[in-house]
C-alpha cells in the first residue's frame, strides 16, 4: 500500500490538455498536391491501394476517408508533386447537428464501441483515449458497456458479412437522438481490403454515419478532434 502511494506521488499528474497539433517530423498526415509539379502521369493513382486518388479535369483529388496514409503515392511520384503534411485533423461532419441535439449531448457524451471487422489498431487507439495521458473523461466523454446507455456509436472496421447483424442490432438498440462516427479508413472508406466475399463495405452502406475520422488508424488526438468537432466544442477547449 505504501509503495503504491509512493508510486502515485512520484508519477504525479500526466494528463495533457487538448494539444491541437504537435506531430513528429516523420508522421504521415494529409497528402498535399503541388499542382505546378504534377505531370498528370497518374502513377500515384495506380499505386494507391485504397483507390483514394482520382483525377478530374486535370486536378488530383484525394478522398481522405478512404486514404490510409501509407505513403505509396508519395513514394512513386517522380515529380515531387505529392508530400505528406503533418495535418491529422481531418474529421468531417456530414450534417451539422441541430441546436437541440447539441445542447443535449454537449456536456456529457456516452459512447459505445462497435468493432465491425477491424484490424484492431483503430480500437487500440480508442482504448488509448482512456489512458491517463489523453484522459477522455476530462471532456465529459466516456465509454459505456451497453448501446442502451450510449449517445454515440464509434464504429471501426470494414463491415464484415459475419458482423452485419450485430451492427444493425446495436444501432437499433441505441436510443435516439444518436450519433454515429466511422473510425478509420476501413469504417469511413471501406476500401482497405478491396472487394471480398466477406466484406460489405464502409459503415455507411449499413447504417447512417454523421462523422468520418480518417486514419489507419487515426492517432488518438485525431479521434479527440473528431469528437470535439461533432460536439462543436473545439473553440472552447482551445481557449
Amino acid at each position: 500500500m505504501l509503495n503504491l502511494l509512493k508510486k502515485i506521488m512520484k508519477t504525479g499528474c500526466v494528463t495533457e490538455p487538448y494539444d491541437g497539433g504537435i506531430v513528429p517530423p516523420r508522421f504521415r498526415g494529409e497528402v498535399a498536391w503541388a499542382e505546378g509539379q504534377c505531370q498528370s502521369c497518374q502513377r500515384c493513382r495506380v499505386a494507391c491501394p485504397t483507390g483514394a486518388i482520382g483525377f478530374s479535369g486535370g486536378r488530383l483529388t484525394i478522398d481522405h476517408s478512404a486514404c490510409a496514409f501509407c505513403g505509396q503515392c508519395v513514394a512513386v511520384c517522380e515529380h515531387k508533386a505529392l508530400a505528406h503534411t503533418g495535418e491529422y485533423q481531418l474529421a468531417e461532419m456530414k450534417n451539422q447537428l441541430s441546436g437541440k441535439i447539441k445542447s443535449i449531448l454537449k456536456r456529457s457524451l456516452h459512447i459505445r464501441h462497435v468493432d465491425a471487422g477491424s484490424c484492431n489498431a483503430c480500437d487500440w487507439e480508442m482504448t488509448a483515449l482512456t489512458n491517463p495521458i489523453y484522459d477522455l473523461q476530462q471532456y465529459g466523454i466516456d465509454f459505456v458497456p451497453s448501446p442502451r446507455h450510449a449517445d454515440m456509436l464509434m464504429i471501426t472496421g470494414v463491415v464484415t458479412r459475419n458482423l452485419t447483424q450485430a451492427l444493425t442490432m446495436t444501432y437499433e438498440a441505441t436510443p435516439s437522438p444518436k450519433l454515429v462516427m466511422a473510425v478509420g479508413a476501413c469504417a469511413a472508406g471501406g476500401k482497405v481490403f478491396g472487394n471480398s466475399y466477406a466484406i460489405q463495405g464502409a459503415v455507411d452502406t449499413i447504417v447512417p454515419v454523421d462523422i468520418y475520422v480518417p486514419g489507419c488508424p487515426p492517432r488518438p488526438a485525431a479521434l479527440i478532434y473528431g469528437l470535439l468537432l461533432a460536439l462543436d466544442r473545439l473553440e472552447e477547449v482551445r481557449n
Binding site: N162, F193, N195
Partner: protein, 503 residues
Amino acid sequence: MIGSVQVIPAATLRAAATVVCHGGLYRLTAMFANDERMINGSFAIYVLFFSKEDAAFKTIKAIIKQDDLLEFPSLTPLMAAAAWYEREIHDLFGLTPVGHPDLRPLVLHENWSQGRYPLRKDFEPDSVESGENIDYPVPPVQGKGVFEVPVGPIHAGIIEPGHFRFSQAGENIINLEAKLFFAHRGIEKAVEGLSFSKALFQTERICGACSVANTLSYVQAVESLTNTEVPLRAEYLRVLAAELERLYNHVGDIGNLCAGLGFAAGISNGSRLKEQLMRLNERLTGNRFLRGWITLGGVTMDITQELVQDIARLLAGITDELNDLLGLLRDNDAFLDRVNTTGILPQQAALDLGVVGVAARASGVDFDIRRDFPYAAYRSLSFHVPVYTNGDVAARLWVRADEAAESIKIIDQLLEELPNGKLTGELGSVEPYQAAFSMTESPRGSNLHWLMAGENNTIYRYFVRSASYPNWPALTVAVPGNIIPDFPLINKSFELCYACLDR
C-alpha cells in the same frame, strides 16, 4: 523456409501423418488447402509439421483429384490440433474431412449460402446471397441448476468481436464454447492475383498489434521465393521493429491484465508506459503501429543518431518504470491471490493443441522461433527465452515481464552493433507455382505465412496462420473449473488476437 515435401494421395493421409509424427517428435503446426485444378487437375491439402529436436520442418501434400470424391481422412482423431484447420478447409474449399467429430461452420457463419466455396478459383462472389441463417447448434450442458451465459459478439469494453457461451453451475464454469471469425475479411482471397508489392499493404493490416510480425513473415516468404538478398543493416532494423512491437504489446498487456481484476494503479501505469512506446514508434516510422517500415527486400526508413539516442533514453526510463509496476504486483497478496493457480493450461494440453508463444512458454514448452529457427538478425544477437511451468495466469504474466526486459536488452545490443550499409536489396523473380513459407515470433507466438506464386510475381495462394490460431482452443481448456469473474483475467492473460485469427 521450405523443408521437405512428401506428395501422397489424400486417402493415405492418416498413415503418412502417423509416420511423420513419429510418436510426437514432429508436431502439426499448420494445415490448409489449395485449389490447384488449373495447374495439375487436383486439390491439395498441405500439412506442415515441425520438430524442435530436429530443428526441421516436414510438409505432407495430400492430393485429391478433381474427379474423385472431394474428401480426405480427418486427422483430428489422431491430433486435436487439426480440428479447426479441417473445419476451415471444409468451409472455404468444400473438401470434407471424413471422420471429423465436429463439422459445424467455423469461418463462414450461418448467413452464408450453402455449397459456395470462396477459396476455390472458380468461385463467383455474386453467387452468394445472405439471409439463409442455417442453424448453429451449441452442444448443451445439462443438469440440475445448470444455466447458460451468452456474451458477445459485441462486448462491454473496447474489445474485438467474438461470441462466448458459458455453461454455469452457480459461479463455476463447466464449459466454454467460443464462436469466432466475426472479423473474417477474406484477406487471403483478396490478395490473390495481386503483385507481391501491392499485397504488402493488406498483409500489414491483417492485425494492428501484430503489424510487424505479419509483414515480416510475408516479406520473408516472398524473399525466400524470389531469392532476394536483404542487406544486413535492414535485417537489424527489422529486429528493432519486431522487438519494439513485442515491447509495447507486453507492457500494454501487463497493464491490461490489471484491468481483469480492477487494479486501477496497474492499469493506468501500464497504459501510460505503452503510450510512451507508441509515441516512440510514431517518431521512428510516422505510424504508431510501426506501419510502413518493413518492405520487400528491406526497410524503407533508416534511423538517425538522434533517433538512436531517443530510443536509448526512452527505454532506460521504461526499464525503471516497468520494474516499479511489477514491484506493485509482486508483493501484493490480493493480486497474487487472484493470478496464482487461476486458468491453468496443462503442459500436455499445450503440446497436443500446438499452443505457441507466451502461452506455451508459461506451460513449460520451451520454444521460440527467434532462437530455434532464427530469422533476420536474431542469429547474431544473444538473448534468453524465459520459461515457466505453472501454466496459470501468473506464469503468463511473468513470461511477458521477463520477455519485455529481454526485448530491451536485444534493442540495446542491436543499436550498439548496427552495421552500416544499404536499406533494401533488389527483389528477384520467381517461376509460377513455386511455394515457400516463413515464420516469425510475434508478441503472441509463432506466426506462419505460406505463399504460392502465380504468373509474373503475383500471389496464387496465400495462407496465414497467426499465433492466435492454435492458442484460441487452449483458452476453452484453461477456463472450465474457474469461476466466471475470473474469465476476463484468464482471457487477458492469453491476450489473443481476433483479427489475426479471423483474417
